[in-house]
Structures are given as C-alpha cells and as structure tokens.
Symmetry: D2
Subunit: 365 residues, 4 copies
C-alpha cells in the first residue's frame, strides 16, 4: 500500500528503472475534466534527464500515454492509468555495483528489506519512480488551477553554499523559473550554481541543494488535524521524494530562534477575509491553511552515486573500492522542482476533497 | 480519519481542552504484553504542565485509566482505550480571545474550517490533544523495547539561539535528559536556557527551540517506499505535533551544502552486518533503515499565546489589541520531548509490523 | 485497524464484555449538528438486553456519555467520544466454559488468533461490542435524517420457519416495528414468534432468524465502484454483525432463479428523475444507488450459547459435556434490528460524504 | 480509492470496456515469488468471453503482460503492474443504448453519479473490469498455494431453478469443475443447465445462478474483528463482483431456520488441533477462521442486457423500447467462477499478512 498516496485523490505508482514501463493509476479524479496527454507531458519534460548539459546525459523521452479513465479528452471519474515505457536500458553500465552496495544509496537497504533487489540501476529506488508522482501531480495541479485558481511554483533556492536571493513569492512563476538552466530565478546565483555543478560533473562528484515552493490562492480551511495537518502531509510528501533530508514550513528552523512577539503574524483585514501582516506561519496555523501563501523549503543531499573512487566494503564485508559507472546527475535539485510541485499538488487536492466533503455536510449555526 | 495514525498499530485520539476527557484507542497492540497504568503514566507525567517553574502554572494530574483491552495486566490483542479526565476547567481566563483570534494560533483557522470552534482554551488544537499521542506512544515504546530492545531518546537541542553541544547520541538516556530542568543534557546550555526562559516568562513573551531524537537498535529494513518511506512517515508524525515548523533527518539542511564525496557514508563490516563509518544518512537510505541509529531534529516555533499586547484585528476585521490571559508555556520544547519520542515510537512500531508481515511471507531465494 | 469502519465518517470502537467501559470514537462528524446524549440513548435502549421477557434477563442500563467533540450541545467537527460503562460483571457465571470452547462461538478462534482470550463473557466477541456500532450509528442516522431526510428502518422478517408477510416497505416505521415484542410488524407472525421463542427459552435452546431493512429517500449516485460498491460495503457492514450468515440486496437469492426479462426493472419517469417500475435491483445498479429504496435482508444463525447439554471436547481435546451457564438470548433478531439500522447508517453516511466531495469537484460538461 | 482493495496485499485496478487497456497494480506482493505471465494467464483464460457456445461470441484474447515488479521471473517486492490491451472495440453495436439507459444496468446510475459516462459498452461497469481482479487474484492464489497449501475452488451450484447436487467440498478440484461446459461438477445438472442457457441465448433472454466456493487448508486465526471479520471482508469482496445479489457463509439463510442445538458444530480432536464434527459455521466463528473449510455461496442475477424488447423510458423520461444490440452472456455464472476464486484469494492473502504480523509481535504467555 506504500506505493499509494492520498485518501480521495489517490495515486498508485509502479515501476523500476529497467522494467518494461513505469506508471501510475489515479483513483478519484473529478469527472468532466478536459485531459489529454500534453497536459501531463509538459511537466514530465521538466523532470526527465538530459534536459541540459548540467544533468545526466541519459536521454529518456518519457512519453506518457493515457490508458484509461478518459473518453474524447474528458475524464470519466474512473481510474486514470498513465504509463511511460522504459527505453534506455543500459544494465551493462552498473559494473561492480552488483557486489558493492553504493554508500548512501539504497542498494544495501533494499537487499535487507526484500531479500532481493533489482540487479541494476536502482530498481524501485531509481529516480524513474518519480515519473508516477509527476504525471499524477500534473493532473492534480490542473484540477486545482481550473477549479480554484491555485498556483504551485517551486524553484531552486540553493546549491551547496550558493543561496538564491530576492525571490518574490507573490509573483514568481514557473516560466520565470525555467529561464534558468538550474531553475533558480536569481541570475547571479544561477551563474555561480552553473559553474559549480559543471566543475563537479567534470570531476565526478556531486552537490546538495534546496528547493523552495509556494502555493498561492489556497483557500482557508485545508488540512486535517490532528495527524493529517496540512504541514504534516506536506512533510510526508516531500520526504517521500528521493534524496530529501529536511523540510521547513514558513519560518522553519529560523523561526525556532525567535520570540513569540517577533514571530507571531498579526491579523489584518484583507478584503472579505482576515489575512496576516507577516507570514512566518507559512500559510498554516493549527495544521490548517489560513489563506496566505503556503511556503515550503525542502533539503536534498548530494546524489550518492559519484564516479570518484570510494573506499567501502562489498556485501560480504570485504574491503572494496567503488568507482560508479553510469550517467548520473551531479545535482538533483533542478529536476526536483517539478517533483516538489507535483507532491504539493497531490496533497492540496486531497485536502480540498476532504474539506469540500465536510462543507457539504456542515450544519449552519 | 485524521485523528487516527498508523496502519497496523493504529491509534485514534479524541478530546478538547475543556471537554470531559481526552483519550486514545489503540487498535492492533500485540496480545500478551504486560501492561498496567503506570507503564503509561510515567511518560504522561513528563508531558503534563506544571512540572517546573519554567512551564505553565496549570496543574493537571493527567491520571490515565485503561478502560479496555487488558485482563489481569495483560493485553488481549483487542482495542485498548486509554483515558484522562479533564479537570482544570478555567474558561473564564480566556477573556477577549473569544472575539479576537490569537495571531499565529488556530482560532481563526478552526473557525474557517469547521464554521464553529471551542469557546475557550484552544479546543482540539490545545496541547491537551497530545495526551493521546503520548499515552499510546508509551505503549508502542514498551513493545519496541521488550520485543526488539529498541531505544528512543529525545532531548532539547536548542532554545532560541542557545544550542546544546557535546551530546553523544550513542549513549544519551532519558534519565540523563530528565536531570536537566529544560531536558537539555548539556549543563552549560541548560543554565543559559533556564535564564532565558525565566526572563521571557516574566515579561510574557515566548521562545522557540529544537528537539533532537535518536532511535537505537533499529533493525535494517524498516520503511515502506515509495510514499511511506521511513523518513516520510517520521516527518508526518513530527509535523503533526503542534507548533512544529521543521524536520531534519541525519545531516538535514547542513547536508545540502556538502559534496557527495563528503556526505556519503562508507560501509564497513560491523559484526555480522554492514554498518557505516559516518551517519550523515541518519540511519535511513532509500527510505529504509540501515541498522545505524536514526537521527532526527524537529523545530518548534515560539508559542503563539503571549501576554504581551499584540496589535491585530478581531474576527470582524476591526482593529484590536490582544493581551492574552491564561497560563501558557513560554517555551514548549521541554514538554515536547516525550511527545517526539511517542510519535517516533508510533511510526517505528507500525513499520516493524509491516516488515514482519513481509518477512513472514517472503520466499527464500 | 479492524475495529474502525468508514473512510470519511470513521468510527473506532473498543470494549470487552467485562472491562471498565465500551465505547466508540467518531471521526469526521459534520460540525454544527445538534447532539446530546438522548439522541443516542434511544437507539441504545432498543439494543440493550432485558427489554422484554423474550430476551436475556441481564439488566444493563447502558447509559451513554458524550466525552468530547461537542460544546453546548453542538458538534465541533472534532472526534466525538461516546462511552458506556460496564456494570453487570458476573464472571462467576461462566463455569466450565473456561476449559471448554463453546461450539460455534468465538472461544476457540480467539484463543487461536491471539494466543490469549478474555476469561469470561465472550470478551470482544460479546454482543456488548455492538454498543459502539449502535451509538455511532445513531449519530450517523441523525445526520442523514436532518440533512437529507433519509430514513432507515429495519424489522424482524423471520424467526425460524415463521416468516412475516404483508410488510409495506414504502411506509413501515420504527414506531410500528417497536409495537411488536419481537420487532416484527406482522401481528400474526409476532404471536407465533413469541410462542416459539418462549418455548425455546424455557428449554434452553435458541433459534435463528432474519432482519430486513429499507433505506428510503436515498439520493441517486451513492456507492463507489468497483470494490466499494454500495451493496459491497453494506454486505461487509452486515456480516460484521455477530451471528450473521447471509446477506441479500433486492431480489437476493430468489433473483438468481429468474430470467432477465422477468428480473429487469423498467425505468419510468418519477417527477424530475427516473425511477423504476419494480425494484428487484433493491435500489442499487452497478454498485450505485438509483434513488429507489434500498432493500436488504440479513440472516442470523441461532445463538451458540445454549444451556442444553452439548457433547464436545475441551481445549485439550478431551471429551466433555458443556452446559452453558449465564443469561443468554434465545433469539438475537429483535435486538439486532437497531444494529442493522446503525450499520446501514454508517455505510450510507460515508458514501454521502464521498459523493458530496466528488460533486463539489466535478466539472460541468 | 474505491478501485483498490486490501490492506497489505493491495490491488488497484483500472480500465473501461473500450479504452486502451485494463489492468491492475499489486502492491505488497511477497518478494522472491516465481512469477511469469503464464501463472496469471490460465486464470484469465477461464474468465474471458468466447470460451464456449454458451457465452458471448466476443473473442478477447486477453493476453496479460507483467510490466514491473519482477526480474528474471521473480518478484522484487515492489509493485507489480499487470496489463491487458483492449482489442475488440465495437462501439457501433450499442445503438440506441446511448439514449436509453438499460433497465437494471449501470447506465443510469453512472450518469447520475459522475455526470458523464462512457458512450458504449458499459465503461467501467463492464465485465472487463474484472480482469484486474482475476489477474491479481491469480498471483494471490499462487502465494497461498505455495506458502500455505491453501486451495480455493469455486463452481456453479445453480442456474435458474437447476441446482447441482452431490458436490464433495473436501475434494472438488478446478480441473473437475472445468470438465463441465458450465463449470458445474454435476453432470446431470450440467446437461440441464446447458439446455436452458442455449434456449435463452437463442431467444435473447438471460438467467441468474449461484456460484459456491470452498477454501481448504486455511489456518485458524484469519479474520480481523470487529469490522473486518473474515466473512465481512469476503462478503464485501463477493458483492463487489458485478451482478451479485446475495452472499452466504456456511449454513447461510438455511441456518436461520434452525435451533442452536441443531446448528452448533461440536468440537472434536483432529490431529493436533480441534476441528468440528459438522461445519454449519462454514469454517468461521466469531469472524475468525477455525481451520475447517470456508464455505461460501454467491447469488448472481440474470444479466441485464438482453435483446428481447423492453418497454422503458429514455434519459429524458420519454417512453421507449429498448432492443439491446451487442454480444452478451445469457448467464454469467460459468465465467464468474474464476472471479469468485480471485476475490477469495485477495481476501485470504490479506488476512494472512495481517495475522502473520500479529504473530510475529505476539508476546508468549
């Protein structure tokens, strides 16, 4: 059940790096939505490898097919199966990685958990697994945009020590983000990040980074206390993305150093609702959205697969030197941007469903 | 369903600050466990207010009763209902908070979500809600300790700018943690934290902080990719605790600034299993435990309810000044320590169940 | 998790026959509902033993208390904990039943499943477990009645070979049902049933029977294909009631003997919707309600606990004669009537929530 | 979420009659199982139309492909995606069924539920939906057979008024069942059934029937009281099959006419466990398997789509005569046999997982 996510808009994904296909089944998509492949393809294109000289050289077209759940370009309310064929099999590249578990990768833990593992390419722990998330997230985002005008935009906010500055979360757009080769809407930072990533790619090393995300036009009332608070489900969603190590909402860890008198967001009248003057809360109070933009930051470690030699041991415990083969990203954050947006969309749409159900049944007082 | 947590060890909690009782029903506790009230009471005592001069003056005995699921001090495998009566009703204290939503608190969002809210004390968003988590977490921790010798220890790692140093996560114990009035096992930091919190209590302000947690003797193989990875469920669990703003596992955000060659944890033979030389992974790789200690850090914002005057607006949008009445913690992290441990125990035990089921059905290769 | 039922209106029950209390936590009740104990008590009174000379002599007041989730007689949208204290402990009555598993009862299977069982009274398998179902079902039924004018009425349709006839499912009411001591709204059948049950009670034997149920004013569109079709969830709900052996919807097994040309329900215009001329479908087509009354029949076996001597074996396998002590119902169907109604209400309300969520998100074509 | 079934062995199906493909994703299959397409194909072949002159003339090869979750013919423990392409599109056949909802079919209710429906062939309500159930059920059955030697055998026990007699549930095998063109292992009944179905096919009418099922070698202890009792989940599973109207376990409705002294199953020593002399319980007591064979009977109505003219109304409510085109089964029970077996396997395997998890965590007393 752990390859499914969501309660009412529920996605179930499948696929390893080198099986016949990866995909996802969406159960609970609203009926009557206009939906064709290109609605999904654009977000998949942002995720795929080989987009720029900074990412892995692997070329994966990752063309999505809608197998079920629509007729004449409209959703029927029945399960929507989305599928992407696996084409670029290169099991030969994985060399001595069959005997030596990659440090900080999933080779060892998959073997311990399942007693078996895919012989190459990461299997289910491969980044190809995120295709299901991105494809279904694109559908969720379309529903949110068309029905509620909700916008979800993510961007690279740091690579290594290089931090983006001057991002205006009120207006930042995906188009603006995509103008940067590293998806960082700060041109100075982009230049430095590009240089750093290129250097590391050349020497076979890798680097971590962070992705930030804003969710705008979100209605108040989303989030399900106590165990499915909005930030709790967002945290689960983001930490389910490969290579993540941290999650912040609003002021995050910086907020832990402040006093209540500094951190509290005073209310103010905004049109016919209450808003807040500041947004340290990141749009969420008591686990429920307050109508202000939801602000998130997600930390990604440096990719584990590097071609620099590493002293480690093989599965038997004998000393070994690993020099990983294959084509791997030196930095995952540019390609993580659409994944973060997709996970956010899956969470928000599910929460919208739950709150709409409540509102329909609510008794007026 | 959002007041339930877990798949096979599933807890369902209830209760507002000023209703008759708060409690939790545990479904799926293993049969045959020795269990009496005192097994649970000790952890509840660590959570309750009024433990020291640094916390709220409210005195809540919080005596737990086991209503069902045991006979002669042993669990039957049937649902275990745990209950704590609410005694210290002081709705009079909440003054003009009925008309003015507290900045950064849940008053506004609960009203928007449910169209109604408890008239005093925070209702379901009150910290009393965590009694259910702590009571059920104590049962989970007992199972983990007795069946697998798994230890879970949390401590205060920072208050405001004051950071604890020199903590040895291999040996830190709850007894050691509890020797500090702020539950920080660094005596220098404890002194500074005590001074700061006392000052803030006196002036009616509050301060944030962080809690760190280690889970030791955890077997390899726990965690359910892809959407219920171990860190993903821990992140959900921790962000479901009131006042949390951030979550880190292993190297966390610091790890995002490192290179793969610095961050990777080389494998090494440790007895009959593989271990790692370093533990930037925080005991989790590919969403699955690797047998090394799981290391977490959780950020808590400063409590929203302060008695300092705040300029804000009332529910109608009219300007108002709020001076909160009532007795509130100036800093939640000391009392959050058992809550963090409890949520960790709930996650780990559920993951143990899932992996044991898999192992029982696995085919040998 | 198996003591919970429902997705959006979710109930979690607890309690054995001889523990301190039995109860239920409702998660997902709509906010703003007027709700006080007497709304629930009336249905519990229909379930409790000792109502008439035909049922067990045990007197259980079964007074319900609302512990949480309401304020000033209105629901808050937070979990509602309902509790009934256990008072009438008579463990002494259970004699040699500790060593001899009752034939066709749960003593043996509980011991095999859990490795332990309650020493008396059936423990969790006791009919007292149904208090949680009935209490929460009463809340669900109140929501359905007030929000949608949905009526749910069950009655005894047979006891042994005695069948009720002439029931008009369009107008049958609970008041009418309760005029019969056996809850059978056919006075001739009532007389015969009463005689039979009295005779069996006197000789220490028991008898089976059936309960029928109609759900009226149900809107079209309820039911979630493919695995949570309306009849599928109703079947699960009814077979979860102790002592049930069979379930029918609409024409049931009689329908299996008909031809399509006989069995099909032709459509006809009824006001602004389509209705059907006949109702062999029992109000459900393709797993979804069609707006016609939903018609169910549930079969109950004779109670297993009889005081007639039974030749059987003890837990060790040695021959034994069991003469059960204690006060037991000779026929469960009169008391099963409110249980059937409650389970129906739990299913229907959950389905209403799911469909309302869908409708809110649906795109107009 | 309603197209998913199961907790730990969870299947998620998709597909309409005339989309590109139908399929299912299995999440939670044990790792290390030998699994290739032919293991699944044999059961699909028993389900497909066009097997004999008695069923629909449609020819659907229904070749299954394993897309993910295996390597070198062994399961990896990751999601297994199974897919069958849709080939035999004949939307032209459905004539005036676009405007006239078929009586007792799902046309009207799908339209009311979703506000849209597939324009032909039944869409998601088509029997093609059961391909996902049968394909995943075949995998479940293989696990049960190889790991526990559990046998599941279903057969046609009646068609219309014609009842099979003399079936020995201790030894009946699928091979024996398949020797009958109607899958009824009583040659006299088979002859009569064949004649009847042939007649009805010729005149364009249809007929109902029942399928019985035995589950042998099931260990004691399966089933999760209180709401997921073994018979409750089996009832849900069976009523989720299209065209079902009734469910019985053990003595079923016949048992409702008996006395406790007649119906109770006395215990007897059978090797190292207790067994029962009779099996009115149908292998389940208190919602938990007792080790005796589980006995089920499921009622199927006559198929709704008949070519005989039917007086009804169209979607607008205007009088209309429907003469359904297309090729439809006059009787579904022969093809329902593998579907019943598959649903049973899905339930039993899920219950095995849950009980194995409990046993692993149980404390010895």
């Amino acid at each position: 059940m752990s390859s499914s996510f969501g309660t009412l808009f529920r996605v179930s994904s499948y696929g390893e790096s080198h099986c016949k296909a990866v995909g996802v089944v969406i159960d609970g998509c609203p009926p009557g939505l206009d939906l064709v492949e290109k609605d999904i393809q654009s977000q998949l294109d942002r995720r795929r490898p080989g987009q720029s000289k900074l990412t892995t050289d692997r070329q994966e077209a990752d063309q999505v097919t809608i197998l079920s759940g629509t007729e004449n370009g409209r959703t029927l309310g029945t399960p929507i199966a989305l599928q992407v064929a696996n084409k670029d099999h290169r099991p030969g590249d994985y060399g001595n990685m069959r005997d030596i578990p990659r440090p900080s990768h999933a080779d060892y833990t998959y073997q311990m958990k399942y007693g078996i593992r895919a012989s190459s390419g990461g299997g289910r722990s491969s980044a190809r697994e995120t295709i299901g998330t991105v494809a279904s997230g694109a559908v969720a985002a379309k529903v949110l945009k068309e029905k509620y005008d909700i916008d979800i935009v993510a961007w690279v906010s740091s690579v290594g020590e290089i931090e983006a500055t001057g991002i205006n979360t009120e207006i930042i757009s995906s188009a603006e983000v995509d103008q940067s080769i590293v998806r960082c809407p700060d041109s100075n930072a982009t230049a430095k990040m590009t240089t750093l990533v290129t250097e590391l790619k050349d020497i076979g090393d890798s680097i971590g980074g962070t992705v930030s995300c804003v969710i705008r036009n979100i209605p108040p009332g989303l989030g399900e206390p106590t165990y499915e608070k909005l930030e709790a489900k967002l945290a689960q969603a983001m930490l389910a993305i490969p290579a993540t190590k941290g999650f912040e909402v609003g002021s995050g860890f910086a907020g832990t150093r402040l006093r209540g008198s500094q951190h509290n967001d005073p209310f103010v009248k905004k049109g016919d609702r209450l808003g807040t003057v500041t947004n340290n809360s990141g749009g969420i109070q008591g686990g429920i959205s307050n109508g202000e933009p939801v602000l998130l930051r997600i930390g990604f470690k440096p990719p584990a697969t590097i071609s620099l030699a590493q002293n480690t041991v093989d599965f038997s415990g004998a000393d070994a030197v690993l020099e990983a083969k294959g084509r791997h990203d030196p930095c995952v954050v540019p390609r993580a941007v659409p994944i973060v947006e997709s996970m956010a969309a899956l969470v928000i749409l599910d929460m919208v469903f739950l709150q709409e159900a409540r509102k329909a049944l609510q008794f007026t007082i």
